[in-house]
């Protein structure tokens, strides 16, 4: 890994990804630039902001978020698992006479059915998000930039992943033309 890092295509066959990282002064400038650069069709875009900026999904051209569907699935699965578990344990496998109530008495099953629905829905929201986001991923090429430390503080960044074989110069020039205050080209060091 260490010797092949800077020499693409040789020895290890490691092809470093290249990014153009552009910093913008305000979130509005970032929104505007993102929209225009996406329309110009330069590589894969992503933004990096300290908080969610309204309208970025649209500027990035993202589709409908998947989380709501995943959470609904989790909730249905949780409710189904809970009710069938209670039914199996207290009705089929080992019925116990509790105060002469019927083995299957639905009102008593509601609380746990609800709780497990919430548990699975909530867990699928959390773990579903991290799976979709492919996190944890401690290393990403954008972290190579020293100025990227501002992305979680007060910086508004746009990263453009350059397609293999293309030059990053065009994208860098475009970002500069769109009013980026700072543009740098990042070549991945290791993976």
């Amino acid at each position: 890994m260490s010797q092949g890092a800077h020499i693409p295509h040789e020895d290890t066959g490691f092809v470093p990804e290249r990014y153009v990282l552009a910093k913008f002064a305000t979130s509005d400038a970032l929104l505007e630039a993102t929209r225009k650069i996406r329309e110009a069709g330069q590589g894969e875009l992503d933004t990096h902001t300290p908080y969610p900026v309204h309208g970025l999904e649209k500027a990035l051209g993202l589709g409908r978020p998947l989380i709501p569907t995943i959470v609904l699935g989790g909730a249905i699965a949780g409710a189904f698992i809970a009710y069938s578990m209670i039914y199996f344990m207290n009705v089929l496998d080992w019925p116990i006479n509790i105060g002469n109530r019927p083995p299957h008495s639905p009102p008593a099953n509601i609380p746990i059915t609800f709780e497990l629905a919430v548990l699975l829905a909530g867990s699928s929201s959390f773990f579903g998000f991290f799976t979709l986001a492919r996190l944890p991923k401690p290393y990403h090429p954008v972290f190579q930039s020293e100025s990227f430390r501002q992305a979680s503080v007060d910086g508004f960044f746009l990263s453009i992943k350059i397609r293999e074989g293309e030059s990053p110069d065009a994208a860098a020039a475009l970002a500069e033309a769109e009013g980026a205050t700072h543009v740098e080209i990042i070549e991945e060091l290791e993976r």
Partner: protein, 475 residues
Amino acid sequence: MSAAPSSANVSRDPLEPTVLIEGAQTDQSLNDSLLNHVWRGAGRGWWMLFGCALSALGLLLIGITYTLYKGIGAWGNNIPVGWAFGIINFVWWIGIGHAGTLISAILLLLQQKWRTSINRFAEAMTLFAVICALLFPLLHTGRPWFAAYWLMPYPSVQGIWPQFKSPLTWDVFAVSTYFTISLLFWYLGLVPDLASLRDSSKSRTKRIVYGIFALGWRGSGRHWSEYKWSYLLLAGLSTPLVLSVHTIVSFDFAVSVIPGWHTTIFPPYFVAGAVFSGFAMVATWMIPARQFLGLKHVVTIKHLENMCKVMLATGMMVTYGYIMEHFIAWYSGNPYEQGQFFKTRWHGPMQGIFLTMVFCNCVVPQIFWFKKARTHVGVIWFASILINVGMWCERFNIVVTSLHRDFLPSSWQNYAPTWVDISLFIGTIGLFSTLFLLFLKFVPAVAITEVKELRHEMEHEAHHASVGGGAGAHG
């Protein structure tokens, strides 16, 4: 809408939102001021408090060790008072935790912007309070090393399953779900702040440690779009969850036949009481914390005032609950119910606890009708402590006072806690304080990302208001 608010000397609109972030702040200045207490070394005050908390935690360890060595015979409860400190403290701690979820989830759904500065703080409180709460039923089983898994439905060689018609089994599911969801919600909200800790840290070690917990967060727009939904849905799920948890806790009592427990008002009245005591606990901790951690610009007097209003409202609901219990006891014509509410509670041996409860929960919050009291930190702090005392007395009344007068006078017994009971109770206060002080030292006490977003939103709104002032068409 109709009047153009363009001229400079318009009289102040009473519905105009008040300042939630004081002073001219930028993202950078918020970042610095809210992280400052993490980077700054622990002061003498922190170490002193931490020392006290650790001593109380030591008491907890002694209490647990002695309980495990002797068995729960070391506790003061005995028939007919089969439940006492263990359950009182369990319900008290769970209730305290509920304010965290209320603030973070319900107020988020209601778009109450003032929640932003106190939600992280209150969520952490939820987690630690639930940990304290969970200790009690586990120890109460007498064999916690079995209880930890016997309560769960798993296929064992004994061939038996949990009995799902019992509210105690529901409780196991409710409280463990509550803890898990609260933890996930808290951590999800914390991830962007951990990234900002990672990126603002000066030393390599801190950068690596916070980097590990930040999970490689890079503020990606693709992530934010899913993240917002994930966070919102967790909030949406927590809202019915928090109501269900205390409802189920109240079922532990309401489903039984004991006079003083067997009432249908318990679920809503328990939930209101939980929010009441939880807000009081947030105030008790927030007032010194905003002072010493330098958070006064984001936790303004307006926040404290709003919390007082919530305490006033929930205090009145709790009072309504007390009145309704008495009314139903009278209206039912049941001599045991009437004896419990009109004789035992007011004139029995536990009279002092009952009257303390009435004073702290019904009378004290009335002071919040006055704006002077709602904006005086000393008054709020003192009142919040009284409310916590009152809510503990309420649980004592429900649990012990109801039990110590059995149906047959020959079974009547008095109750007194032993030193083990008291050590365990003080010990959990120590555990809570220890965890909380560690939280205040290592994690930002205020949700920085959300405060920045709020600042950004308010700036936008102010901008739009000044641009389209005459048009009056804004949403």
